[in-house]
Chain length 385, copies 2
């Protein structure tokens, strides 16, 4: 039932994009990307079971801590499959831009950052990197992206704040803007990684955010077509870029979600969370909607803020911070750890794992919907009143 | 003794490059790359022992088949360390070109191809990919490189052949040239991978070829400085690119060789051979010396031709094709498998493993030296007489 709903909505989105952009100069590129994405979904879905067996045989498996009594080993690090398939899909998209060096540069810089993060994630899954590497290496991985960034380094300040503080409306941050983008990449990678611990949550939240990303870029692109500014509008081509990499990401993530949804037959590993985090950073930075991206990351932002006392070591931080499963009732109960999962369980009381994931994903949907409304209907008010 | 000789020669090369280019506009960039490379060597050398322990603990180790009686497990896949350090070094080199989109494109496309191959190599070491993936995935990995290639697609035919066959002296191959480059990338990756099986051979041959690559690019660059054409000579900037990525590769490989030389404390894995192969393809293609590169790959070419009957399945091909160690004499003896190693043992008789590696590397040095002489002193004759 729920799957039919999700499938229907996604199919509507898939076709809807084409309908909205009917007659626009982008339609062919979008449809080519969608075609590759469908192939990517089929590949991801079918490659996961055999590779899961191989990874398990190599000792890459975990215990599902929320299923007491069931000591079945679940294969780990399956994010490597959607990651690799995504890279192949997007590399094949490059043919559309082979004559445009600046466009190709963005593609390659973005893909390099993503590929480097997949590599680091997989190495982390295999040999458990120390924390200093986990924080340092994403910084290097995001550098190609930051160096290739060719856009504005200015931010708009709301007029009333600007006049209140007697500062200009438009501030050029220069290298501080690059610093901000680097921090954004580190935030995206790690915030998805720590909003985790119940079946399907990592991939589920990524799918919801990607759908919101697609809708946002579609709206921007649609308006630039309506305005007739599409051809010489640099922002239009940026949103197109973002759309063209979002479809393969959505498709490959869905292929993984089919196996990772409750009850999980495979785990996604740091490979997937790093991959997803860097994907959003690339889409947001090269698509020039990095402030909107933060609006779509509100649950991750809340969870990170909640977790800060433990992450910074003010309060002791155990290896796992997930809820506890009561073996008598089969329901999840909160632990004292500071996470959005435990907070939700405190708010609504003990519940099944599946219900907890559903509630968290519903919250993600509401936040993303709210974020898009704020962005598209209130931003004018916010910035110009 | 031998180590002092090698160290002395390398130090001479290191400083020699700076001396030759003294006063040229490239000196600063070269020295920055050399500085990063020294840091890269130190990092690689020091990170390998702790990571070797971690990989071994995860079950990533092999038996050293040429040391009968010694059943010590040797950690595998250590190519991941020089690979990752190399990526970080070259990403940090990008700052020098941050304003030049076309240059950055080449950097990022080349790095993406290399990074993708490191990822595939490491996955292969962890879960042993099937042959169809091993052949297919390097093709995708080399695509960014081919799409970003902005150079000529013509080849020069020696005049006497051209006049004999009544064809033009300069032939534009168009897309066939791209096909040729793709095949070159696949050849480089796989030919290093199969010229292997005795301690230190994979890294040793890569080090020798890299030194030849550096000398070749240095000569080209030196002549363009002498001619006074350096500033507006597109070839000069291509050879500079090649030099700037060759130093970090040489340094990181040397850091690995220190641990991989006979008797090996670590094995390099497919991670290193794929990494090295794609590095040479990138350096050769974006440095525009891909025909010269083939001259430096003569031992690999011979070994591949020798191996063809077994690779194609005309003659049965066992899992390992390495020589056999006679436990009584401790010497390696040839097996019936068609490889350069067995051929060498047939030619010179049984010998120790260390001596076999030395002979093969000496052969590599002679081939590279000969290749450079042919390229730099005979090419004019060959093409214009």
């Amino acid at each position: 039932m729920e799957w039919m709903l999700v499938t229907g909505l996604l199919a509507a989105l898939w076709v809807g994009v084409d309908v909205v952009l009917l007659g626009s100069p982008y339609l062919f590129q979008i449809m080519y990307s969608q075609f590759l994405s469908v192939v990517g979904f089929i590949l991801t879905y079918n490659l996961i079971p055999p590779f899961a067996e191989k990874l398990k045989a190599r000792g890459l498996f975990g215990k599902d801590l929320n299923k007491p009594g069931k000591d079945v080993p679940v294969p780990e690090a399956l994010g490597i499959i959607p990651g690799t398939v995504f890279l192949v899909c997007v590399i094949l998209s490059q043919f559309m831009f082979s004559s445009d060096a600046v466009k190709l540069l963005e593609y390659n810089a973005g893909l390099l950052s993503i590929c480097f993060m997949i590599l680091l994630g997989f190495v982390d899954d295999v040999i458990d990197l120390a924390w200093r590497y986990k924080l340092m290496l994403p910084t290097f991985a995001s550098l190609p992206l930051l160096i290739a960034y060719r856009g504005s380094t200015s931010i708009l300040i709301p007029k009333w704040i600007a006049s209140l503080m007697s500062i200009p409306h438009l501030i050029n941050l220069g290298y501080f803007y690059h610093l901000y983008m680097g921090l954004l990449a580190i935030f995206c990678t790690n915030s998805i990684n720590i909003l985790a611990g119940v079946n399907g949550l990592e991939v589920g939240q990524s799918v919801v955010i990607t759908v919101a990303t697609i809708l946002h870029n579609l709206l921007e692109l649609f308006w630039s077509v309506e305005d007739g500014t599409a051809d010489d509008n640099p922002f239009a081509s940026m949103h197109l870029f973002s759309l063209l990499i979002s479809f393969p990401f959505l498709a490959c993530s869905l292929g993984l979600l089919c196996h990772n949804w409750y009850p999980s037959r495979v785990f996604v590993g740091d490979t997937f969370t790093y991959f997803a985090g860097m994907f959003f950073a690339v889409a947001g930075i090269l698509g020039h909607f990095n402030k909107t991206l933060l609006l779509l990351f509100i649950p991750q932002l809340l969870n990170t803020i909640l977790s800060l006392p433990q992450l910074l070591g003010v309060i002791p931080c155990p290896r796992h911070r997930i809820p506890r499963c009561n073996p008598n009732t089969g329901l999840l109960e909160p632990t004292p750890n500071l996470t959005l999962l435990n907070f939700t369980l405190r708010l609504f009381g003990p519940m099944t794992e599946k219900r907890l994931v559903q509630i968290l994903l519903l919250f993600q949907v509401l936040c993303c919907a709210g974020g898009l409304v704020i962005r598209h209907y209130s931003s004018l008010m916010f910035f110009f009143v």
